[in-house]
Homo-oligomer: 245 residues x 2
């Protein structure tokens, strides 16, 4: 993990860009985090394209940091400046083609787009955890926040350091991930934008129903994909505080 | 409005039983409520049977009172010791018969059970508001909290003093109420128990979808009818604080 830039906010929050191998990312640490009182960690997930998403990701990260968490995000495989995977790009093109033609998106396309992304991204998130939790001022339980929801499902299932997750509802869930969801047991807080132009509401409700977790909560709000209201962010923050602090 | 008993809690909360005409009820007032700083009011709705429901209703009322609200509940028409309406009782018997026989409950039964209850209960809630808001220490906006959801929908539509509502999802929504829901515009916070043995999940989702309100939020949690988790009550309380304080 190689820090490439560092910025100290007025409230003491430390924001550091880094690279981990060839993966770029940003780490936010609250002033309260010290080796004797390490901050728990939130993984800030997103659909890819760090630069495009930066203002929203920074807002989400700082919301968590205000509650005493460290927060980290990294670029997804095949997004931003990272090399593209030809097979994934082919599936992405087929997905766009189907949507533009008004045709249903086949399970096969979804599998070929999302499953390889999950296979690539989950070990990277685990490497990020290894590196960030190696810092003396960061430790303790980890929460995953965001989409890609299939990545969140897999992490929730296979990574014991992830103890709670705020998942952003999405469509295009591979059937295998839907089955994995039944075996997830950590507390979940699922955010659904009721009129999300990018998402299939019923698919989101079906996935919520499938989760095996004893504590799972669905918060549905009005507005489109990027219109999550501030009070919904507050509720998600309270969920993490309840489970990770 | 005739107070029949009075009890002062250790934290200064005043709990008073009353009758309004032949309607029994209970009013809770925070110590902070004075004529110069009147408390906004929460109407604590329920499916009927004050005595049976008392511990849960008291818990909900005191949660609101802790946030500075007054809270009031009254017996529903035809419940507790109040006289039964023969037509409603006939429809209730038909509903039970259909459920026990494993038959679908017809729209006609739902209409004959719920619509007369709404017609009776809504003017009573309005009379309760008139009386309680006439007390010097209570004033300002009103919130409705609870079931019967059809009563909440009608109140949200016709009663301008009700500025926000926490609605407990329920089945057996008359078609006319579903249509009224489209014209509701006040902020809504809908609680759905995902595995509620008494309720039809899809009917609840359809009603949520129908509401015309620009701000509406659905909070779905695990557990059965009476198993609303404490954090869901906290979120509902925050909703009222956001809109009524």
């Amino acid at each position: 993990m190689h820090f490439t830039s560092e910025r100290r906010h007025d409230d003491g929050v430390l924001e550091r860009d880094f690279t981990l191998g060839d993966i770029p990312g940003t780490l936010w640490t609250p002033a309260s985090a010290t080796a004797s009182s390490p901050a728990p960690l939130i993984l800030v997930g997103h659909p890819g394209g760090l630069d495009r998403m930066r203002s929203r990701l920074t807002g989400r990260a700082l919301r968590s940091v205000a509650d005493g968490f460290a927060a980290v995000t990294v670029e997804l495989p095949g997004s931003g400046d990272r090399p593209r995977d030809p097979a994934i790009e082919q599936a992405r093109a087929e997905l766009r083609g189907a949507i533009q033609a008004g045709e249903p998106v086949s399970d096969d396309i979804v599998d070929r787009l999302v499953l390889p992304l999950v296979e690539l991204a989950v070990p990277e998130w685990q490497a990020v955890m290894d590196a960030v939790l190696g810092l003396p001022e960061i430790g303790g339980p980890v929460g995953y926040s965001g989409g890609v929801i299939s990545i969140g499902v897999r992490l929730a299932l296979v990574e014991p350091r992830v103890r709670a997750a705020v998942l952003f509802a999405g469509s295009y869930i591979p059937r295998a991930i839907h089955e994995e969801a039944r075996r997830v047991t950590i507390p979940l807080h699922v955010l659904l934008q009721w009129d999300d132009e990018n998402n299939d509401r019923q698919a989101a409700l079906d996935l919520f129903d499938a989760f095996g977790s004893e504590e799972k909560t669905l918060h549905a709000n009005m507005g489109g994909h990027a219109g999550v209201p501030e009070f919904a962010g507050d509720a998600a923050a309270q969920f993490f505080t309840r489970h990770l602090s």
